[in-house]
Symmetry: C2
Subunit: 153 residues, 2 copies
Protein backbone atom coordinates (compact mmCIF):
# COMPACT_ATOMS: atom_id res chain seq x y z
CA UNK A 1 0.00 0.00 0.00
CA UNK A 2 2.82 2.31 0.98
CA UNK A 3 4.66 1.39 -2.22
CA UNK A 4 1.68 2.25 -4.40
CA UNK A 5 1.33 5.61 -2.69
CA UNK A 6 5.02 6.37 -3.22
CA UNK A 7 4.86 5.44 -6.91
CA UNK A 8 1.78 7.57 -7.35
CA UNK A 9 3.55 10.49 -5.69
CA UNK A 10 6.59 10.05 -7.92
CA UNK A 11 4.35 9.89 -10.96
CA UNK A 12 2.71 13.16 -9.98
CA UNK A 13 6.12 14.77 -9.42
CA UNK A 14 7.38 13.49 -12.78
CA UNK A 15 4.32 14.70 -14.62
CA UNK A 16 4.43 18.04 -12.88
CA UNK A 17 8.10 18.50 -13.81
CA UNK A 18 7.28 17.52 -17.37
CA UNK A 19 4.43 20.00 -17.53
CA UNK A 20 6.62 22.81 -16.17
CA UNK A 21 9.59 22.46 -18.43
CA UNK A 22 8.53 20.69 -21.62
CA UNK A 23 6.46 23.69 -22.63
CA UNK A 24 9.69 25.64 -23.13
CA UNK A 25 11.69 23.07 -25.09
CA UNK A 26 10.73 22.09 -28.66
CA UNK A 27 9.93 18.37 -29.06
CA UNK A 28 12.93 17.73 -31.35
CA UNK A 29 15.18 19.45 -28.82
CA UNK A 30 13.69 17.33 -26.03
CA UNK A 31 14.85 14.24 -27.94
CA UNK A 32 18.26 15.80 -28.57
CA UNK A 33 18.74 16.77 -24.93
CA UNK A 34 17.61 13.46 -23.47
CA UNK A 35 19.98 11.57 -25.77
CA UNK A 36 22.76 13.95 -24.72
CA UNK A 37 21.94 13.41 -21.03
CA UNK A 38 22.10 9.62 -21.29
CA UNK A 39 25.20 9.77 -23.46
CA UNK A 40 26.96 11.98 -20.91
CA UNK A 41 25.92 9.56 -18.14
CA UNK A 42 27.17 6.64 -20.21
CA UNK A 43 30.63 8.21 -20.62
CA UNK A 44 30.81 8.65 -16.87
CA UNK A 45 29.66 5.08 -16.23
CA UNK A 46 32.47 3.97 -18.53
CA UNK A 47 35.01 5.99 -16.53
CA UNK A 48 33.95 4.34 -13.27
CA UNK A 49 34.13 0.91 -14.89
CA UNK A 50 37.66 1.68 -16.11
CA UNK A 51 38.67 2.83 -12.62
CA UNK A 52 37.26 -0.33 -11.04
CA UNK A 53 39.09 -2.54 -13.52
CA UNK A 54 42.39 -0.66 -13.44
CA UNK A 55 44.00 1.99 -11.25
CA UNK A 56 41.45 3.55 -8.91
CA UNK A 57 41.51 7.35 -9.07
CA UNK A 58 39.19 8.52 -6.29
CA UNK A 59 38.83 12.08 -7.61
CA UNK A 60 37.86 10.90 -11.07
CA UNK A 61 35.33 8.43 -9.64
CA UNK A 62 33.77 11.15 -7.44
CA UNK A 63 33.43 13.50 -10.40
CA UNK A 64 31.93 10.74 -12.54
CA UNK A 65 29.47 9.72 -9.81
CA UNK A 66 28.40 13.35 -9.41
CA UNK A 67 27.85 13.56 -13.16
CA UNK A 68 25.67 10.44 -13.21
CA UNK A 69 23.62 11.68 -10.25
CA UNK A 70 23.28 15.12 -11.85
CA UNK A 71 21.73 13.48 -14.89
CA UNK A 72 19.45 11.28 -12.79
CA UNK A 73 18.26 14.27 -10.76
CA UNK A 74 17.89 16.71 -13.65
CA UNK A 75 14.19 16.20 -14.26
CA UNK A 76 14.51 14.09 -17.40
CA UNK A 77 10.73 13.61 -17.43
CA UNK A 78 10.54 17.07 -18.99
CA UNK A 79 12.29 15.65 -22.08
CA UNK A 80 9.61 13.04 -22.74
CA UNK A 81 6.83 15.45 -23.63
CA UNK A 82 4.01 14.95 -26.12
CA UNK A 83 5.19 14.27 -29.67
CA UNK A 84 8.56 12.81 -28.66
CA UNK A 85 7.53 9.14 -28.77
CA UNK A 86 9.06 8.75 -32.23
CA UNK A 87 11.69 10.38 -34.46
CA UNK A 88 11.18 14.00 -35.50
CA UNK A 89 12.93 14.65 -38.80
CA UNK A 90 16.62 13.80 -38.43
CA UNK A 91 16.29 13.50 -34.67
CA UNK A 92 16.00 9.76 -34.08
CA UNK A 93 14.95 8.11 -30.82
CA UNK A 94 15.25 4.57 -29.46
CA UNK A 95 12.33 5.04 -27.05
CA UNK A 96 9.43 2.62 -27.24
CA UNK A 97 6.09 4.44 -27.50
CA UNK A 98 4.79 2.22 -24.64
CA UNK A 99 6.84 4.35 -22.26
CA UNK A 100 4.41 7.23 -22.71
CA UNK A 101 1.48 5.12 -21.55
CA UNK A 102 3.03 3.78 -18.36
CA UNK A 103 3.64 6.88 -16.25
CA UNK A 104 3.57 5.13 -12.91
CA UNK A 105 6.08 2.47 -13.98
CA UNK A 106 8.35 5.08 -15.53
CA UNK A 107 8.24 7.17 -12.37
CA UNK A 108 9.24 4.11 -10.33
CA UNK A 109 12.16 3.37 -12.71
CA UNK A 110 13.27 7.00 -12.70
CA UNK A 111 13.09 7.07 -8.91
CA UNK A 112 15.18 3.88 -8.69
CA UNK A 113 17.80 5.37 -11.04
CA UNK A 114 18.02 8.56 -8.98
CA UNK A 115 18.21 6.64 -5.68
CA UNK A 116 20.93 4.30 -6.98
CA UNK A 117 22.90 7.27 -8.38
CA UNK A 118 22.70 9.13 -5.07
CA UNK A 119 24.03 6.02 -3.30
CA UNK A 120 26.86 5.87 -5.84
CA UNK A 121 27.84 9.44 -4.92
CA UNK A 122 27.93 8.47 -1.23
CA UNK A 123 30.06 5.42 -2.01
CA UNK A 124 32.43 7.47 -4.18
CA UNK A 125 32.81 10.00 -1.37
CA UNK A 126 34.17 7.26 0.91
CA UNK A 127 36.87 6.39 -1.63
CA UNK A 128 36.22 2.68 -0.97
CA UNK A 129 36.46 0.86 -4.31
CA UNK A 130 34.48 -2.16 -3.07
CA UNK A 131 31.59 0.08 -1.98
CA UNK A 132 31.72 1.89 -5.32
CA UNK A 133 31.68 -1.42 -7.18
CA UNK A 134 28.52 -2.53 -5.36
CA UNK A 135 26.77 0.82 -5.83
CA UNK A 136 27.88 0.98 -9.47
CA UNK A 137 26.29 -2.42 -10.09
CA UNK A 138 22.99 -1.13 -8.74
CA UNK A 139 23.09 1.94 -10.99
CA UNK A 140 23.80 -0.30 -13.98
CA UNK A 141 20.88 -2.52 -13.01
CA UNK A 142 18.60 0.54 -12.83
CA UNK A 143 19.69 1.59 -16.32
CA UNK A 144 19.09 -1.90 -17.65
CA UNK A 145 15.66 -2.18 -16.02
CA UNK A 146 14.42 0.82 -18.00
CA UNK A 147 16.20 -0.15 -21.22
CA UNK A 148 14.71 -3.65 -21.08
CA UNK A 149 11.21 -2.24 -21.00
CA UNK A 150 11.42 0.98 -22.96
CA UNK A 151 14.48 1.12 -25.24
CA UNK A 152 14.39 -0.55 -28.65
CA UNK A 153 17.56 -2.17 -29.93
Amino acid sequence: MKKITLSATLAVVALSLAATASAQVKPEDQIKYRKAAYSFASWNMGKIKTNLEGTYNAAQVKAAANAIAAVANSGLGALFGPGTEKAIGEQKTAVKPEMFKQGEKVAKLAGDYAAASNELVKAADTGDAAAVKAAFGKVGASCKACHDDFKSR
Copy 2:
Protein backbone atom coordinates in the same frame (compact mmCIF):
# COMPACT_ATOMS: atom_id res chain seq x y z
CA MET B 1 53.68 35.51 -12.13
CA LYS B 2 51.29 33.64 -9.84
CA LYS B 3 48.73 33.56 -12.65
CA ILE B 4 51.15 32.00 -15.10
CA THR B 5 52.08 29.33 -12.57
CA LEU B 6 48.41 28.54 -11.94
CA SER B 7 47.67 28.29 -15.66
CA ALA B 8 50.66 26.04 -16.16
CA THR B 9 49.49 23.81 -13.31
CA LEU B 10 45.99 23.62 -14.78
CA ALA B 11 47.46 22.77 -18.17
CA VAL B 12 49.42 19.91 -16.66
CA VAL B 13 46.31 18.65 -14.84
CA ALA B 14 44.23 18.88 -18.02
CA LEU B 15 46.83 17.09 -20.10
CA SER B 16 47.28 14.41 -17.45
CA LEU B 17 43.51 13.81 -17.29
CA ALA B 18 43.42 13.65 -21.06
CA ALA B 19 46.26 11.14 -21.14
CA THR B 20 44.57 8.95 -18.52
CA ALA B 21 41.14 8.69 -20.01
CA SER B 22 41.37 9.38 -23.74
CA ALA B 23 43.26 6.13 -24.24
CA GLN B 24 40.08 4.25 -23.36
CA VAL B 25 37.60 6.18 -25.51
CA LYS B 26 37.71 5.99 -29.32
CA PRO B 27 38.25 9.38 -31.01
CA GLU B 28 34.79 9.39 -32.64
CA ASP B 29 33.24 8.62 -29.25
CA GLN B 30 35.25 11.43 -27.67
CA ILE B 31 33.57 13.83 -30.11
CA LYS B 32 30.15 12.27 -29.43
CA TYR B 33 30.56 12.48 -25.66
CA ARG B 34 31.87 16.03 -25.58
CA LYS B 35 28.98 17.22 -27.74
CA ALA B 36 26.60 15.37 -25.40
CA ALA B 37 28.22 16.96 -22.34
CA TYR B 38 27.87 20.51 -23.70
CA SER B 39 24.36 19.82 -24.96
CA PHE B 40 23.32 18.54 -21.52
CA ALA B 41 24.88 21.65 -19.94
CA SER B 42 23.08 23.85 -22.46
CA TRP B 43 19.69 22.35 -21.57
CA ASN B 44 20.39 23.09 -17.92
CA MET B 45 21.51 26.65 -18.69
CA GLY B 46 18.21 27.09 -20.50
CA LYS B 47 16.27 25.89 -17.44
CA ILE B 48 17.98 28.40 -15.19
CA LYS B 49 17.31 31.18 -17.70
CA THR B 50 13.63 30.20 -17.77
CA ASN B 51 13.50 30.20 -13.97
CA LEU B 52 15.10 33.64 -13.80
CA GLU B 53 12.68 35.06 -16.35
CA GLY B 54 9.56 33.40 -14.93
CA THR B 55 8.60 31.62 -11.73
CA TYR B 56 11.66 30.75 -9.66
CA ASN B 57 11.72 27.08 -8.66
CA ALA B 58 14.65 26.74 -6.25
CA ALA B 59 14.82 22.93 -6.45
CA GLN B 60 14.95 22.98 -10.25
CA VAL B 61 17.63 25.67 -10.27
CA LYS B 62 19.75 23.70 -7.77
CA ALA B 63 19.49 20.53 -9.86
CA ALA B 64 20.36 22.46 -13.02
CA ALA B 65 23.34 24.18 -11.38
CA ASN B 66 24.61 20.80 -10.15
CA ALA B 67 24.29 19.45 -13.68
CA ILE B 68 26.28 22.32 -15.18
CA ALA B 69 28.99 21.96 -12.53
CA ALA B 70 29.09 18.19 -13.03
CA VAL B 71 29.84 18.77 -16.71
CA ALA B 72 32.46 21.43 -15.96
CA ASN B 73 34.20 19.16 -13.44
CA SER B 74 33.97 15.94 -15.45
CA GLY B 75 37.42 16.10 -17.01
CA LEU B 76 36.31 17.18 -20.48
CA GLY B 77 39.96 17.47 -21.53
CA ALA B 78 39.90 13.69 -21.96
CA LEU B 79 37.44 14.17 -24.83
CA PHE B 80 39.79 16.37 -26.86
CA GLY B 81 42.38 13.70 -27.59
CA PRO B 82 44.53 13.33 -30.70
CA GLY B 83 42.57 12.93 -33.91
CA THR B 84 39.46 14.74 -32.65
CA GLU B 85 40.31 18.16 -34.12
CA LYS B 86 38.00 17.54 -37.09
CA ALA B 87 35.00 15.40 -38.05
CA ILE B 88 35.40 11.62 -38.00
CA GLY B 89 32.96 10.06 -40.45
CA GLU B 90 29.42 11.10 -39.53
CA GLN B 91 30.62 12.54 -36.23
CA LYS B 92 30.87 16.27 -36.89
CA THR B 93 32.57 18.79 -34.62
CA ALA B 94 32.48 22.58 -34.37
CA VAL B 95 35.87 22.77 -32.67
CA LYS B 96 38.57 24.91 -34.26
CA PRO B 97 41.81 22.97 -34.71
CA GLU B 98 43.65 25.89 -33.05
CA MET B 99 42.28 24.66 -29.72
CA PHE B 100 44.66 21.72 -29.82
CA LYS B 101 47.69 23.98 -30.07
CA GLN B 102 46.85 26.29 -27.16
CA GLY B 103 46.87 24.01 -24.13
CA GLU B 104 47.63 26.69 -21.58
CA LYS B 105 44.87 28.98 -22.82
CA VAL B 106 42.39 26.10 -22.94
CA ALA B 107 43.31 25.05 -19.40
CA LYS B 108 42.68 28.63 -18.22
CA LEU B 109 39.28 28.74 -19.96
CA ALA B 110 38.33 25.30 -18.60
CA GLY B 111 39.38 26.39 -15.10
CA ASP B 112 37.28 29.56 -15.41
CA TYR B 113 34.26 27.53 -16.51
CA ALA B 114 34.63 25.13 -13.59
CA ALA B 115 35.13 27.96 -11.08
CA ALA B 116 32.11 29.89 -12.38
CA SER B 117 29.98 26.71 -12.31
CA ASN B 118 30.98 25.94 -8.73
CA GLU B 119 30.00 29.49 -7.75
CA LEU B 120 26.64 28.97 -9.48
CA VAL B 121 26.03 25.88 -7.31
CA LYS B 122 26.77 27.92 -4.18
CA ALA B 123 24.39 30.67 -5.33
CA ALA B 124 21.67 28.13 -6.18
CA ASP B 125 22.03 26.61 -2.72
CA THR B 126 21.14 29.97 -1.15
CA GLY B 127 17.88 30.10 -3.13
CA ASP B 128 18.54 33.80 -3.80
CA ALA B 129 17.47 34.53 -7.38
CA ALA B 130 19.57 37.71 -7.61
CA ALA B 131 22.72 35.82 -6.60
CA VAL B 132 21.89 33.08 -9.10
CA LYS B 133 21.38 35.67 -11.83
CA ALA B 134 24.82 37.16 -11.22
CA ALA B 135 26.55 33.76 -11.04
CA PHE B 136 24.64 32.55 -14.08
CA GLY B 137 25.91 35.52 -16.07
CA LYS B 138 29.48 34.60 -15.19
CA VAL B 139 28.99 30.99 -16.31
CA GLY B 140 27.53 32.23 -19.58
CA ALA B 141 30.50 34.53 -20.04
CA SER B 142 32.89 31.61 -19.46
CA CYS B 143 31.05 29.57 -22.12
CA LYS B 144 31.21 32.49 -24.55
CA ALA B 145 34.91 33.12 -23.92
CA CYS B 146 35.77 29.63 -25.11
CA HIS B 147 33.25 29.61 -27.97
CA ASP B 148 34.61 32.95 -29.26
CA ASP B 149 38.08 31.49 -29.57
CA PHE B 150 37.54 27.84 -30.33
CA LYS B 151 34.07 27.12 -31.71
CA SER B 152 33.30 27.66 -35.37
CA ARG B 153 29.86 28.94 -36.34
